[in-house]
Symmetry: C2
């Protein structure tokens, strides 16, 4: 058997320790599949003495993480996180040294993916990041290779397990957002500062990476419009269910005549669509190709085992020497499409208002919709909520998003509204 692939590991948190466990538990199998052993030779982490349930004595301990780039290894695995700082410095140094780099760091790739792809290409070194998107699901590979024969019209999916856990728990138990979030935090399913997850930033990082591969463009995080799920009420989920939909936070990227459209937003998903059945912290990604049609990839979007599985899959590809340009085509050929104007997209929408319970409110909303040219398919008003306000939920006919935005603009500041309206797109 050929020489071992020697790995230097930066970061021994959940995923880092998981990588060691995968390589230990499946050692012989991985060597058979990879054509050679894969061996961790050096590690670096903040605390040398923390008990991680793995024996670290067999590895070189490197205090300065940045020095891992010069360890006697073929590949550095970065599991520190953070879009800049030590992770980025390590990536640059490793690739500059001509060594392979494997990372689960979606934020870094969303912001610096293009630069790193150029560096990898210049060095002829692999840069791989299956674990950065949708945890254990091989969706980077699925897009980069499996769907490579297709022009992709749209890629979208459930990209954040925390949000999906919260939404599907709200759905199953009829409880409101804040309560379920607090519980998720207590259980460790949500961070103490949950904003990266619940405001859609994490999903936006992942979406920008998927979009780059699907559309042959440079990752452009700043072009992703990100909305989260803070505004979703249990009542919205109940209305959606009554209409035949489930509420999911979706990242959607779409190539159009006016440019590349990228958005993270809560959506109504028809119950007949596979994403409606994605519950808990599961992730799922759909790619629509011009020949293959609709492909779905589904699995665990986070967690020690699944994420470590994806990291080790990258290492096996490298051990097999089966790798190429990180974003599916040479960095020089990645385009920088204009961000598409969302306003000209056509679709159906769910818009829910919290209003005061008085004469004329419905007329005011209906007039705003009419004046903006929004055609209403159905309108449901339900009796007073806990705080005395009334919920008015509207489903529109298909039309330009601009019109809905204009209607909401007309209603801005209205004394009839008791809170921000919630706008959700209906997945078509």
């Amino acid at each position: 058997m050929a020489d071992a692939l020697r790995v230097a590991l930066a970061g021994l948190g959940t995923v880092g320790a998981g990588v060691v466990r995968v390589l230990d538990a499946n050692r012989d199998l991985i060597a058979r599949r990879a054509g050679r052993p894969i061996e961790v030779v050096a590690v670096s982490a903040r605390d040398r003495h923390k008990d991680r349930g793995i024996d670290l004595n067999r590895f070189d301990w490197v205090d300065d993480t940045g020095a891992l780039a010069h360890a006697d290894a073929d590949v550095v695995v970065e599991l520190i996180g953070g879009s800049d700082g030590p992770a980025l410095a390590l990536a640059r140094a490793t690739l500059a040294a001509g060594k392979g780099f494997v990372t689960a760091n979606k934020a870094m790739l969303a912001h610096h993916g293009y630069e790193l792809a150029q560096a990898a290409e210049a060095a002829g070194a692999p840069l791989k990041f299956e674990a950065a998107v949708a945890g254990g699901i091989p969706v980077i590979k699925g897009l980069r290779e499996g769907a490579a024969a297709n022009a992709i019209a749209r890629v979208y999916g459930v990209l954040n397990g925390t949000c999906n856990f919260i939404l599907s728990t709200m759905e199953a138990e009829g409880r409101d957002f804040a309560e379920v979030l607090a519980e998720a935090q207590a259980l460790g399913f949500a961070e103490a500062d949950p904003s990266f997850d619940i405001d859609g930033v994490d999903a936006a990082h992942k979406l920008s990476i998927l979009a780059a591969i699907a559309f042959g463009s440079r990752p452009a995080f700043d072009a992703v419009e990100a909305h989260g799920i803070r505004g979703v009420l249990a009542a919205d989920i109940a209305e959606a269910a009554a209409l035949g939909y489930r509420v999911r936070l979706l990242g959607v990227a779409e190539a159009g005549a006016s440019g590349l459209f990228q958005r993270v937003h809560p959506h109504l998903v028809p119950v007949s669509h596979p994403l409606a059945h994605v519950t808990g912290s599961t992730n799922a990604v759909v790619a629509e190709g011009n020949f293959v049609g609709r492909l779905l990839f589904q699995g665990a979007g986070a967690g020690e085992g699944p994420t470590a599985s994806a990291v080790v899959a990258d290492l096996i590809d490298i051990a097999r020497r089966e790798f190429g340009p990180p974003f599916a085509m040479p960095a020089a050929s990645l385009e920088t499409p204009e961000p598409a104007d969302g306003g000209s997209r056509r679709g159906r929408a769910y818009v829910r208002f919290s209003v005061v319970d008085k004469v004329g409110v419905l007329a005011e909303i209906a007039a705003a919709m009419r004046d903006a040219g929004v055609s209403i398919e159905s309108l449901i008003q339900r009796g007073a909520a806990v705080d005395g306000s009334v919920l008015v939920a509207i489903v529109t006919h298909e039309g330009p998003e601009r019109s809905v935005a204009q209607a909401l603009e007309r209603l801005r500041g209205s004394q009839s509204l008791t809170g921000e309206p919630l706008w959700m797109h209906i997945l078509g």
Copy 2:
């Protein structure tokens, strides 16, 4: 840009013509992704003059398909079909000539996959077959590479679109098998001789290929126990629905202490399981890994566009020089596990009897179950069917399959039965 990858194409049926159309339609995109153009240079098919909607004049026409192995090409794509004969001869000659070979031929791989993998390895040539299993879904890649870090406990799925179309149409419309099959044949969704599909042979071919990759074994079609869907009644589907299940023909491969278990059989799938929502001719495959957990791959299992998409994905991998051992590890290291004894598997079962409407029949069935040690969870008897017989459906508690087989053996030849009992496994 590097030299083109030159392709010789054997077979210009639906999929063959589709490959030409994909390469034409997505020409520039594919060249960017593959790092070089992919060009068909020679073709061979039965009828030179048939109108396929593509211009063949730009290709060398080769009358003798076998001669394609010696065409001025880097890769031969075989879309003729048939487990032996010209397809196998072409595979052997192509690999012996040191050229790459891409095929959608599941029957040939199920029977001769090991030999061909050895030949490819000896020649250092790629042998790829993404299109052979589950059409456009990149599940060969998903198992070979995406899940490569995992010991796979079980791989299973909906592998035959014709059967799934028939079952889901029966389910949606409450109609019986023969009627829906006839309609599917009229619509072109089922072959004039449908036995390969409806008796589970096609799914068994695919399962043996998936199992080889998942478990590091030589493809062993003869070790697959194949049953089809001829015996499934609309009434069975209705009973299953009442119990919270959908009926699906599943291929299931499982590694156990006693060997490798491979079976194609109609199953009851809980409605909470993603495979319950796979309808029409869609295919879906689940792999359960010891770190990644449950991965699901879903998409179009057949048809011109999806299958051609998978063929061209293989060509792109070859153009990128990202390929290795066809069955995920060197042929020499593929094992030949014992076929596992299904009888010792434990599970729950659905068993339905068609019986004459007379005193004592229920007692006879119940006694046979008791004597074989089968514990009954529920039993439903419904009034007389069209032919006057009565249906008795039993759901068992978990127990060894052997016991159910023994109970059925005890009842064999009983005058109380008006037809073959139907045994379906409940997916656990």
